[in-house]
């Protein structure tokens, strides 16, 4: 379950890559105005066509998607489609607001925010007594305890297991109250509490290893749920349908009577279906087709970038380089590369304005965004050359820089078929050539790339992305030297100061205290540059004319699943 907390980040290159790769098309003339990232800037394109005042009950909304679900069992879902379905049929213990703060909404299972003990290690959670499963059974403390303990059990094979690896004990206080004790203070744990529950009364006797084979989550009639809609049909590879659950316990009921989740094999066809009116929402319009959708008056495009960013990652392990020493060891060298890259040009020309520059691993506008504290490297080839010279690089006979007998030439890897990365790699190649560095871009099949290069940390430089599906800013697992390969710190980056700061960042639960730490991290990481942070980017959402919502319920692209943010309050006309 992506919306649950597993590690703070995950590599999502496949999906997003394939989304944005497609045949090239004519240049869009409808680029939106460029904006500098500002704090609190979660602005989307005007959504006036879809905002309205008086909700109507009934009707059908059809959401388009590009892949079938794997399972509707919250225990095993880790892909976007499964997450979409689960969001419709299961209530979460907690939800997040537009600013990604954890909240207990009227449709959340928890009655109020958790009470955190003095020592910040014990969380006491109260469930709403009226919450019910679709078979009429109440949602109780037993369900919550069972859900957490099952997820934690390695025999089960839940992808959510790491969300709860800091949990020591889970105990029942009364029928609606649970106490979770952590082994250590761990602030990001709060986001792990956005989980969906599984029914204890249905699954408690199923052996851990057999859970995956249980029809719960595979057969709509055997999937007991507790969300606004119930699952009625799964036509594999074609569509799923969900009907508003008449026995739904929430005080706020869903307006839309039926949600159809329709699967398309081809992105072009999916967008055409939106244009024709076969479907009412496309969660990811390929950049190449953006102009076609924007030109239709009755369609609305939500343009703001999503919770993911692309980076140029350096490798610091010497044995990956011919001279047995990484070309990127000098801080000034890395800064020079950052100066040499025309990042704004990439955003304007390749992303067609659907991206925003990033200078640190924190989303612009989020509470942890260090803003000005992070160094912004504007495109400046002269400055780059100066820094390279200061770091001891001298032009060789062929114009390429050398230092201690090592020629500054490296291979830049990315996954083939990803049109965006192919183009960005070409820009990087050209930009760095201008300052005397030779780049050899190389596309590799994604699966092979991950297995042979990323997991073992064997490459010189990569062009890749991280998805911040978890709003918590903690990124220890990709930057700390505790997580060298096969961990996620694939570039073997080591910075003692940062190693300590990451720990400090999650060892205090007060958000203002944490904010200070992330400011410091932002400053240090943007100076020391394990990556050149390129840009936050996204997959614009397209909405048809039928879909309506009030201003406060509009989609929120900066959140995972933000394209169906507060869909319980949407309606169709």
């Amino acid at each position: 379950m992506v919306k649950k907390k597993w590690t703070s980040l995950m590599l999502i290159v496949v999906l997003i890559g394939s989304l944005l790769s497609a045949c090239s098309s004519s240049n869009s003339t409808t680029n939106p105005p460029k904006e500098q990232p500002k704090p609190s800037d979660t602005k989307t394109e005007p959504v006036k066509e879809n905002t309205a005042q008086t909700p109507k009950d009934g009707g059908v909304i059809t959401l388009g998607t590009f892949s079938d679900i794997v399972t509707a069992n919250p225990l095993f879902a880790s892909d976007t489609s499964s997450g979409d379905a689960i969001n419709l049929i299961f209530a979460n213990l907690y939800d997040v607001d537009r600013k990604a703060n954890v909240v207990a909404e009227p449709w959340s299972l928890a009655a109020e925010l958790p009470q955190i003990s003095e020592d910040s290690k014990t969380y006491t959670i109260k469930l709403k007594p009226e919450a019910k499963w679709s078979d009429g059974q109440p949602v109780t403390a037993d369900d919550l305890i069972f859900s957490i303990n099952t997820t934690r059990n390695p025999d089960v094979g839940s992808p959510g297991i790491s969300s709860f690896d800091k949990v020591d004990t889970v105990t029942k206080v009364d029928a609606n109250t649970v106490q979770i004790k952590l082994k250590q203070v761990y602030a990001p744990f709060l986001y792990s509490l956005r989980l969906s529950l599984i029914p204890n009364h249905i699954l408690k006797d199923v052996p851990a290893k057999e859970l995956k084979k249980h029809p719960f989550g595979a057969d709509p009639t055997k999937t007991v749920t507790n969300g606004p809609w119930k699952w009625t049909e799964w036509k594999q590879k074609q569509y799923l349908s969900f009907d508003a659950d008449p026995s739904y316990w929430g005080a706020k009921k869903p307006h839309i009577a039926k949600v159809v989740y329709k699967i398309y094999a081809d992105q072009n066809t999916e967008v055409q279906a939106l244009i024709k009116g076969d479907i009412d929402s496309v969660s990811a319009i390929p950049v190449t087709q953006l102009a076609a959708v924007q030109s239709k008056e009755n369609l609305n495009v939500v343009l703001a970038p999503g919770p993911l960013y692309e980076y140029l990652g350096f490798n610091f392990k010497g044995e990956n380089f011919p001279g047995n020493v990484s070309l990127f060891t000098g801080e000034k060298t890395r800064q020079a590369i950052a100066y040499a890259l025309n990042r704004q040009g990439m955003v304007d020309n390749i992303l067609k304005g659907t991206g925003k520059l990033m200078n640190s691993p924190f989303l612009p506008g989020s509470w942890a965004d260090p803003g000005e504290a992070a160094v912004n490297y504007s495109y400046d080839a002269a400055q780059a050359k100066k820094l390279l010279e200061e770091d001891g690089w001298k032009a060789g006979a062929d114009g390429i820089l050398t230092k201690d007998g090592n020629r500054f030439s490296f291979e830049l890897q990315y996954n083939t078929g990803n049109n965006r990365r192919e183009q960005v790699a070409a820009v990087i190649q050209q930009n760095l050539k201008d300052v005397g560095i030779e780049v050899k871009p190389r596309g590799i099949d994604f699966a092979a790339w991950q297995e042979q290069n990323i997991n073992p940390g064997k490459y010189q430089a990569i062009l890749a992305a991280w998805s911040l599906t978890d709003p918590d800013p903690n990124s220890e697992s990709i930057f700390s030297s505790k997580y060298f390969p096969p961990g996620q710190n694939a570039g073997w980056y080591k910075n003692d100061k940062l190693d300590q700061l990451w720990v400090k960042g999650y060892s205090v639960v007060d958000q203002n205290e944490r904010k200070k730490v992330y400011q410091e991290i932002g400053k240090e990481i943007s100076t020391n540059l394990p990556y050149v942070f390129l840009y936050q980017y996204g997959t614009p959402q397209g909405l048809g004319p039928k879909v309506k919502y009030a201003e406060e319920d509009k989609p929120e692209p900066s959140l995972a699943y933000g394209y169906m943010f507060r869909i319980i309050n949407w309606w169709v006309e």
Binding site: W6, T7, M10, L11, V14, S67, V70, T71, F76, S78, P154, D155, G157, P159, G160, I161, S162, S163, D165, K209, K212, K213, A218, Q236, K237, Q238, Y239, V260, K262, I263, Y264, A265, D266, N268, T269, Q272, A273, I275, K276, D278, D445, F446, A447, A448, Q450, E451, Q452, P486, Q488
Partner: protein
Amino acid sequence: MTEFLIRRVLQSLLVLFLISIVTFGLIHAAPGGPTQIFLSPGLSQEAGRIQAHNLGLDQPVYIQYVRWLGGMLQGDLGQTFKNNLPVSEILWPTVQNTVILMGVAWLFAMLIAIPWGIYNSTSEYGISDQTASMISYIGFAMPVFWFGIMLQELISIKWDLLPLSDMYTMGKEGDMGDLFMHLVLPVSVLTLGFLASYVKYSRTSMLEVLDQDYIRTARAKGMKERRVVFRHALRNAMIPIITILGLDLPILVAGAAITESVFNWPGMGRLFIEMAVAREYSVLMAITVITAVIVVVGNLIADILYAIVDPRVQIGRKGGVSS
């Protein structure tokens, strides 16, 4: 004939066995495994190992193969790794959908192409022949997906005459009229593709036969041209055409991935690509084996048809054709 059939079936079984070993080996040798695709990055190494063990993926490849073969021989195609769905449940509906789509297109192409090709052979370089050549060039040269997109854009979106994609309108599953409407566009695209080669083949093959001495003799006898063409020439001309049709048979099941994707047709071509990306070994193996079976059967059928159209072809004799 019986002896021939038995020999061919035994040969075929051996071929299938070899194909399955090679495919199994290749699929497993490809970088990236199912665990990598479906296990999330958050899963610890230890938890990953437990899962790989539960799925039998930690066993040596030959043991996995023997297990797979054992299941296969008992009619069990296995389950998907990702969500434990029985492979047969995913596979059979898609096979049917593909056979409907491809079968209609193939039948259409054949019914148009063969008579047309024959006619064109009798009036070489006439208007009809030139038109057929033109269509063939277009059919060969134009990328299928592009033609599909153009049809969608024009007929479905601009004029709103036909549905854009899918097999049925939702809620109308099984409605023949609805299915027909949905078939028109993808069948047009596929028919054009088939047509391009079939017209050419039947024309060329007829021309070759019409050039033979025995045709001249027949004409010299004062036989009517109709009778010459249909009675004498056609039978011989059919042999190469049958070969092509036999070779194309597997496509009817394997499907056309691109057309199926563009028209969102829930068929095999799409499934195969999806499953290859997901490294769903059991589904891939099932598809490979089915396709291999059809290839073998297609060849067998072609062989038998030879004997029917040309009695001189004697199946089972060494040397094959004897007179």
